[in-house]
């Protein structure tokens, strides 16, 4: 069964049709990219899939269950998490606190149990710290654990945001322009990180990206959008040679 199945997705804002006729499927442990010129509607698709917009039409199935129109937090609990173009960390909280908050849904949240520091509560908190430590190590931020997230460098913030997503043990990770603002070295590291996440943590990745070399390197399938509509879908090889794609990016030859 495919992990994510999007069919006939349409999003209108009043009279403006932002996105229409979007169909694609993401398999478990697959890396799938959505590309297209600016304003093509890629982030709109993300927002629909992750529950931040209610689609005007179409269906979105996560592991066979319809999720179109559901609220963001419910979809997140089903295992679909995302990063944001403008990095949305909890800026005045520390890196480790960001990772603790992300585990909220898995922790012992009973008020009385916490107030009286019952052993089950303490164990849950300890476990949460251990997992946070693991992920901080994983993205190389352990030494900055107690640094306020807003005080991290751009690249560090991006890594923290990804770690924060992964700590929720998702099935599908949506990355919105993860390489934006990264230098080539950092982009290479990102490449490895995404592959590792897929290999070791069993997660599928759906990403929006402008960095063509990264996209071609890492994706197994690509959807190309322009003006809110799909213009091509296939493997990187197919996309690379698709005339419609070339025209969209480079204009008429």
């Amino acid at each position: 069964m495919s992990l994510l199945e999007v069919s006939g997705l349409q999003m209108r804002f009043g009279g403006l049709v932002a996105v229409d006729g979007i169909n694609f499927t993401v398999q478990p442990r697959q890396i799938y990219a959505v590309i297209g010129p600016n304003g093509a509607g890629k982030t709109t698709v993300f927002n629909c899939v992750s529950g931040f917009y209610r689609p005007s039409a179409g269906s979105i199935h996560l592991e066979g269950q319809e999720i179109a129109g559901q609220s963001g937090h419910r979809i997140a609990r089903r295992g679909l998490v995302r990063t944001f173009q403008n990095i949305r960390l909890f800026r005045s909280m520390t890196a480790v606190e960001n990772l603790l908050v992300a585990q909220h849904t898995k922790l012992e949240t009973g008020l009385l149990k916490g107030l009286f520091s019952v052993p089950a509560y303490r164990a849950a908190e300890k476990h949460a710290l251990e997992r946070a430590a693991y992920w901080l190590d994983r993205v190389g931020l352990r030494s900055l654990a107690n640094r306020e997230a807003g005080n991290l460098s751009y690249g560090q913030q991006r890594r923290l945001e990804i770690a924060r997503c992964m700590i929720t043990e998702p099935k599908l990770l949506l990355l919105d322009e993860p390489a934006a603002g990264l230098n080539p070295q950092e982009t290479r590291e990102l490449d490895h990180l995404i592959r590792d996440l897929r290999d070791q943590h069993d997660v599928a990745v759906l990403l929006i990206e402008h960095d063509m070399s990264l996209v071609m390197e890492i994706s197994e399938r690509i959807l190309v959008m322009e003006y809110g509509r799909p213009i091509a879908e296939g493997t990187p090889e197919e996309i690379r040679h698709d005339p419609r794609v070339i025209k969209a990016y480079l204009g008429e030859a």
Binding site: F13, G14, T43, N47, F52, Y53, F84
Partner: protein
């Protein structure tokens, strides 16, 4: 039946003139919110200061001096407008401009502080008690005699309606046709872009505050003349109600402020006819809560999509 219609008509007249005042003040809220996305909590106190300057002017002229009423009232209004524009400009410059662009709570708290400051400033340096306003605009514009009930519109109420409508038209023309008006509209759509295009957004924002203050001042003077007394506390409740009117009509929309004012005025007047008068304020506050719950964009506003 025989006395329902005339009573109804009277309520409509009362409601519209009450609504006109709300509309005048609501415009200030809606313009400021439309441009910088912030509720100017101190706006109600501006209205109150307008009323005070009006009374001060009238007292200074000396209402027994025999000048024609229209001249005295006009001078009072002009001076009230001048002074409140200065207040509006100064408040924006001191308490809001330095805080632009920061976290949302900060300018809001500054505005609340400003509101408290202004109210108490007037309490201390003027009087905290009611002050009587000379009854310059007395008499009825017209009366219609019905068998059981006489419907009438007083001159002061008529003046309020007339002035409000005239000012609305003038403002709409200004915003719609003039260069500055275009700049205002551009800023309320996309501030960043407007500034990149060379529009001096500081000037536009200052103008917004000043225009709002001017209208509120007119409202203050007219209401003082109509009701016959003023005190430093009239700004608070009227302020919240005018904000309700702005939201009802659709925040950011000037026609919306007018519509909202009219609707709120009518609702409040009709409600106070059937409920104990103390509850009429509850009606306004409840209306505010209800609109913000069920239709926060108001009647004429555009739905706001959250930018993710």
């Amino acid at each position: 039946m025989s006395d329902f219609f005339p009573q109804f008509l009277q309520q409509v007249i009362n409601g519209l003139s009450l609504g006109a005042i709300y509309a005048l003040i609501a415009i200030g809220y809606t313009m400021v919110y439309g441009i910088i996305g912030m509720i100017n909590f101190a706006h109600g106190e501006i209205y109150m200061i307008g009323a005070y300057v009006g009374l001060i002017t009238l007292t200074a002229i000396g209402t027994a001096a025999g000048y024609p009423v229209w001249l005295m009232v006009s001078v009072a209004v002009v001076l009230a407008v001048l002074v409140t524009c200065a207040y509006g400009w100064t408040i924006e410059r001191i308490a809001y401009r330095p805080l632009r662009g920061g976290p949302r709570l900060v300018p809001l708290i500054s505005a609340i502080g400003m509101s408290i400051f202004l109210q108490n400033y007037v309490v201390i340096f003027q009087n905290s008690r009611d002050l009587p306003v000379p009854d310059l605009i007395s008499g009825m514009l017209f009366t219609i005699d019905f068998p059981v009930f006489t419907v009438g519109m007083s001159n002061s109420r008529a003046l309020i309606l007339f002035v409000t409508v005239a000012l609305m038209i003038a403002l709409t023309l200004y915003i719609g046709r003039s260069r500055m008006g275009r700049a205002c509209r551009a800023c309320s759509q996309d501030m960043g872009m407007a500034s990149l295009l060379g529009i001096d957004i500081n000037k536009v924002i200052a103008l917004t505050f000043v225009l709002g203050a001017a209208l509120a001042a007119v409202g203050g003077v007219l209401i003082g003349l109509s009701i016959g007394k003023i005190n430093p506390f009239i700004g608070f409740v009227v302020g919240v109600k005018a904000f309700t009117a702005a939201v009802l009509g659709g925040i950011g929309s000037i026609p919306g402020a007018m519509l909202g004012g009219a609707l709120l005025g009518m609702t409040e007047t009709f409600a106070s006819a059937y409920l104990p008068t103390e509850y009429k304020d509850v009606v306004a506050f409840s209306l505010l809560v209800l609109i913000l719950l069920f239709r926060p964009t108001g009647l004429l506003g555009r739905p706001d999509v959250e930018k993710v």
